[in-house]
Symmetry: D2
């Protein structure tokens, strides 16, 4: 296959990109100078050189400060002494962590599962960082962990993932009296009762306060 078709194929696997837009990407690149192509190539091939997986939350991060040894294996958040050791939010993907963190209303720590568990998955523990989570939770318990928040999407895969994590951690959480909580469900901003779907309405009623 020629380089153009090959690249179209690769770009077509990018999240949310179809063949047509993939083709436009390639044409866009063809109009760039060799310099910027080289630069892009360099950044892609080196992407993971400076990017480490945080030894705590398992998210991707860039080792900012080579002199500060700690920042080589733990991300900014996990290295932050001022954060609340009592709560840990388990999320599916890096981008969920960022979106919660950007929100600013959570001050505990995170753990990134690295994905979700589809319904009927035979080997769920292989789909996410189950063992790593267990180890991390055990370490956090020593530091006073009191609550684990299941920060999963409200869709079948997300709920399935949350259920699995809850069951998977049960032995530790029960033994150590750790509360496992779910994000609140109900009306999202902008929802009008008239258009609220039945599940959302049920939860809005159940979770009234």
């Amino acid at each position: 296959m020629n380089p153009i078709e090959k690249l179209i194929q690769i770009f077509s696997n990018f999240p949310g990109i179809g063949p047509r837009q993939a083709r436009r990407f390639v044409y866009y690149l063809l109009t760039r100078g060799n310099g910027s192509l080289g630069e892009l190539a360099k950044h892609i091939s080196e992407l993971k050189d400076d990017v480490t997986i945080c030894a705590d939350c398992m998210r991707f991060f860039e080792s900012q400060n080579k002199t500060n040894k700690d920042s080589l294996y733990r991300c900014k958040i996990c290295a932050d002494q001022t954060r609340d050791n009592f709560t840990l939010m388990v999320v599916q993907r890096d981008i969920d962590l960022e979106s919660v963190e950007k929100n600013g209303s959570f001050n505990g720590f995170y753990f990134v599962l690295g994905g979700g568990i589809p319904i009927l998955e035979k080997e769920p523990e292989k789909r996410i960082r189950a063992k790593e989570l267990k180890i991390f939770v055990e370490r956090k318990i020593k530091k006073g962990l009191k609550e684990i928040i299941l920060g999963v999407n409200w869709n079948p895969e997300g709920e399935n993932t949350g259920d699995f994590v809850e069951k998977f951690l049960k032995p530790i959480t029960e033994k150590n009296k750790i509360k496992v909580t779910h994000l609140g469900k109900g009306l999202s901003m902008g929802t009008e009762l008239e258009y609220a779907d039945s599940e959302t309405m049920k939860n809005a009623l159940r979770n009234r306060s």
Copy 2:
């Protein structure tokens, strides 16, 4: 103005209808026989003859059974002896009541405010059935009312309406220890953390359980 233009103008005031669709309505009617036009006209002019405002919840309903005097001034729901007297949900419009009722997860009674209160409204009590609500709540208290649920939309007008109702009823609710609750806010079905707006996320965290 000629009948066609007049009707277009009237239909343009229907909720969600612009001049173009209003015009299509008129052309559609022009293709109907005089019989069906007459029928439609009859139903419209008689619409309110058989439709009463429920003496309790203030919703529109049709007096089903002329022999049953009760059904002449109270709607099916309000006349239903089996419903829970402890909870009352205050909604903005008839259609909200129907959507909650269709959901089936609420078994208390309703009250329809008949609208919402826009931000900065000078005379809020004139925008909704404030006095009627007060009277109804006082009657319900005698029957054991324990909780008033503010079933308002999550948008500025809805929240403004809820705040007003809460303040407006405070004297009675405090005196009688009636709990005033709000529908749960948080993730709606289908929400992915990545795309949750900041207000929804805040509430999903605050209302975790």
Copy 3:
């Protein structure tokens, strides 16, 4: 069925209206005073009293001027002496006529078929005003008609309608050397070649000039 449900059912048959919006219409009407309901009813029932079908183009119109006898059976356009007698545009519905007329670039006369002919229709001539068209064309020929423009939508029903009309009129048009033309097909305003569908592109090429 009670008046509310009955009206919801009727409104659900309005073009482009589903049950949910039909219900909102009824609730909207319920909030109107009996006065405006009566007015609406009156306009609907009288809609066809002042509205006549033009004896020429067959469109609906309102007899503006009772004193001017001509305006009682012919619409403004058909009564307009200054328009071009050589061209006649055959359209499917009143609304098509209006949209072409609003455009202002056509100065001939119109004929409204009153609908379209679905593919595989057994009795096409019953679906549209075929006989009336023939008679009108014959009258127009005496006034010097030279061209019939098939002003149909570019979709299967529209093309089928155009084909039928063309075949149906062939005896007269051939005998009297009347040109039968189709609206130009090609790029519509805003079309980018990249996204032009194959049929449009074919025509844009064939009809280049």
Copy 4:
């Protein structure tokens, strides 16, 4: 700036990609193995090695066959002896050429301007391959060129580009009696008269046949 942010920035410049999706791209890449990252990088940096600009139509193409010298500087289409030498279509971008070619109804040759000329552009000839076009047209004339089709988008930039090309080539086209044509304008497939914009309708009428 760290590699992640740098890449997000670069991807944000891809056509149709915003910062949020750019970020998702990077996270997607972070989950790939170093192998596939290397492969992608390689394809990007080598993209232009095997890709040449066709000496005739100026489109990008891959020199398929090193042994066949001709295929080293002319693309498949331009090297195709069986195509029609009388017509040349001038398009703005490679992707337009592909979309016309895929359509299959054009059998002449192409020329890719490499872009469009925005309204009020001071130095239009610098925005597109004006000189190259002139030279190419002169060569094609020797081979019997009879018509130049302006295959531009129907939007302000496209029309401006077409007008410039037409004026720019006038000396040659007039001298050699080359017809300059525009793609047909009118109803696109699916258009209903009721919704046709005024410009499209004007052209549909003017270009009727």
